[in-house]
Structures are given as structure tokens and as C-alpha cells.
Amino acid sequence: MFVAFRRIFKLGWQSFTRDGGLAAATVFILVIVIALVTSLFILKEVSQFLIASIQEKVDISVYFKERALETEILNIKEEISKIPEVKEVKYISKVKALEEFVERHKDEPVLMESLEEVGNPFLASLNIKAWEASQYGVIANFLEHPVYEDLVEKVDYYQRKPVIEKIFALSAGMEKTGWMGAIILVVVAILVTFNTIRLAIYNFREEIKIQRLVGAGNWFIRGPFLVQGVISGISAALICLLIFSLISWGLSPKIEIFFPGLNIFQIFVSNFWTIVLIQLSTGILLGVISSTLAIRKYLKV
């Protein structure tokens, strides 16, 4: 058994190294497919980052009347935090609101002068973030309860509702389109690989027939092709890994200029082993499955 396995491996390796042109063509196609799959994985991570950062900017605010005490507001904050739909609640006091406004507009003298005249016009507020767009309605309803009528000045949900829903719909749409595009590309890539390997094996049909006629068993014939498939897959995965390491390392600073906080190299490094696994499994599985399917019909002699 071990001897047969060793011989199958030797024959596979021999074929891979001797048919240089054919092996290079197969590896090249596999590199393209693996690169595509890896790009889709990285794009998924990037789009998740972008969607999360857009969604991060979505929130609603509830403003409290002048007479509302800080302890009362903090009690309401406590209550709101208990709602399962709520992701985060931040208290902004009247003073803090003024400080933030001044910090933002310190270079605008007209605004600053007006502010000096009116004093602190801001109201204390709670800034609320929900997990999903649909959940903001629930939170708004909760705050409009008559219990809070005396304390709550206004909830800005209804002004923001169309924008919030648009943002969430857009990100959901992006995800759906992304998945559909990815599936189509992967199917095309698999078909291209399968056909390349099928053509490569077609060149060997006479050789396979001879092997059958001199008494080689199916596994002794199929084995070396599978070994070649595995070697091609591993080679292509390693080439791809090198290409992606270099590209993500080189492009990362440039991308970060346009999308602050988006570090492609960091994504690559933190998902390194997942990417290695995706690349190796894509390469090996495509190589092996395509070889198995392509060789099947020539083994019937």
C-alpha cells in the first residue's frame, strides 16, 4: 500500500515537472481563481467595515426639558439600556453639549458671539444607537410613553427616519448584490478551471488508454493526476499568498488615505490563517475534483 502510494506520488511529481508548459498553464488558471476567491473574502471584510462605519454614524437623540434633573435623565438612560434593541446609550449633559458646539465652531466668530449673548441654549440629551434600523421605531415609541411626557422635549427619530432607513437599505442591498456577484464569479472561475484541467487531461487520453492496456488499475492511473492537481493547487495557493501579501502591504497606506481606519494589510494579517485555508482548500479541491471528473471517461477502456 505504502509502496503504491509512494509510486503514485513519484509519477505525479514526474508528470508535473516534465510537462512544464501544461503545469504552468494549470497553475496560472488556478492562481486567477484563487486570487478571485481571496479578493471576494477581503472585499467582504472591507464592505463589512464600511457598512459598519456607516451604520455607526446612525443614531437618534432624545432631548430633555430644561427642568429635567440629571438624576432623572440618568434613570431613563438606565431604563433605555435595558431594551434589547438598544446597542449603546450616551448621555450628553447641557454643559457637554455646549463644549462640543464650541469645540466644533471655535473658528467661527459670528457664532461664538451669538452664543455669548444667548448663553447655553442646548438641552441635555441621550444619544441612542440601535442594532438595526427597524429597531429605532421601538425605541422612539418607548420614549413617547406618557410617563416621560413631562421630561422629554423631543425625539428626533421622525426627522431622521427616511435617512436611517435609506442607509440600512443601501447597506443590505450592497451585501446582497455582493453575494450574488461573488457566487456568479466563483461559478465562472470553477468552470474555467475545470475546462483547463479537462483539456490538459484530454492530451493524456492515449497515455491513459495505454496504462489501462498494460494492466494498471484505476487508482494507479488516477492517482498521479490527483497528485498533480494537489501540487498545482498548493503551488497556485502559495503564489497567490505571496501576491496578496505584497499587494496588501503596498496598497494599504494609499487606501487608508481615502478610507480612514481601513487597513487592508491589517485585515490580511488578522485573517492570515483563514486566507491560507481558503486558498489551499480552493486550489487543492479545484485541482482534485476537476482531475477526478475529467479523467473518469478515459478509464472505461
Partner: protein, 231 residues
Amino acid sequence: MIKFEKVTKIYPSHSNSSPTIALEDVSFEVKPNEFVSIVGRSGAGKTTLLRLLLAEEKPTSGKIFFKGIDVHKIKPEKLSGLRREIGVVFQDYKLLPSKTTYENIAYVMEVIGKRDEEIARDVPEVLDIVGLTDRAQNFPAELSGGECQRAAIARALIHRPEIILADEPTGNLDPYHTLDIIRLLLKIQEMGTTVILATHNKEIINRLGKRVITLEKGRVIRDEERGRFIL
């Protein structure tokens, strides 16, 4: 050892023409250690007969036995077992183009699971018998027709099969190499192997003085112990 029992092989037509009868009602037996020549014009059915024995194709009717077993009742996955007991020399050599002469011959031993030491011992020995020691590391494309045919013979006999089928082994060779190959086949038979030689080379058959089965239009028209090429 080998028995053909009323074997008929008809190839169905793919157009409107009538089906081709390659073999019709063929019956004969071959005993161990015999040297049998199958002769006939091109298209007489010689190659079909050998292909049926190798179970490359199925007969339309009739049975073919090898050592008492109906070869067409063997399951496809077990066919390799039958083929390992038969050495075949093809007219077009059928050497594996991506392997050297040495590897082509060693391949058969690897297939049947011989140990590395046996391969290292036997392959050079057989290469010496067929006079190809110097060409061991050459690929088939680098060999002459005669050398390819000798390599094919070496491959056919390396695992000491009980029978060797030679299908027009001299078809592509000049007279000098033709004699060379026939001498080699006779030597193999003297060593105890059954040889079935399919040819349309009149001169060779008349020189051999061995059993001759003559085919014409797929039928056996003559089967003589010390036959001659008469058509």
C-alpha cells in the same frame, strides 16, 4: 489456455451503410507454450481478435476463455488483473511518450507491485536482451522505429507473462529489424511463453514453420500446425 468459441464481432454502422462484420463464428484453441501466427489481409479481423482477447471490446456473440475464465464476464475494475497476465506488443508501439525507455518498462512492474530491488535488477536485464541498454534514458520520441518496437517487446515480457500478443510488431520496420524482432519472439517462446503473432508478412510466416491460423473476411479459413501464408 486460450479458447475462442463461436466468436462474432459486428460493428454497427453509423451511417446508412451496412454493419461491418469483423469476425464471424471464429473458434480455435491455443495451448500453453505454443507459437501461433494469425494471418490475413488488412481488415481480415486480426487486430479485432486480439482486442477481444484483451477485453478492450466485447464480442457480439460467442465466448473467449483465458485459463478457463470467460474474459468478458470479468468486471471492469478486475480487468487489470487479466491484462497483467498478458504482454502485448502493438504495431504502433504504444509506449508512454512522457516516460523514458527504462521507465516505460519499469512501469509495468510498478503496476503489479514488484519491489524496487526487483525492478532495478530485471529492467536492465531485459533492456540487455532487447539490445537497448544504451537507450535506457531516452524518450520514445528519441528512438527509431525498431528501437521503439524492441522497447515495446521488453515491456511486454518484463513481468514474465504467460502469453504475449504481438499485433503486427514488424509492420513499421525494415527487413533487418523485422528479422530481429521475430528472432526475439521465438526466443521468448523458447523460454516458455505462449506467443500469438498477428501479421500479414508472408515472408516471416513462411520462414517460421509454426502453427498458422488464416483469417479472411472475419472467418477462419485455415488452421495448420506447420502452416504457410496462403491467400
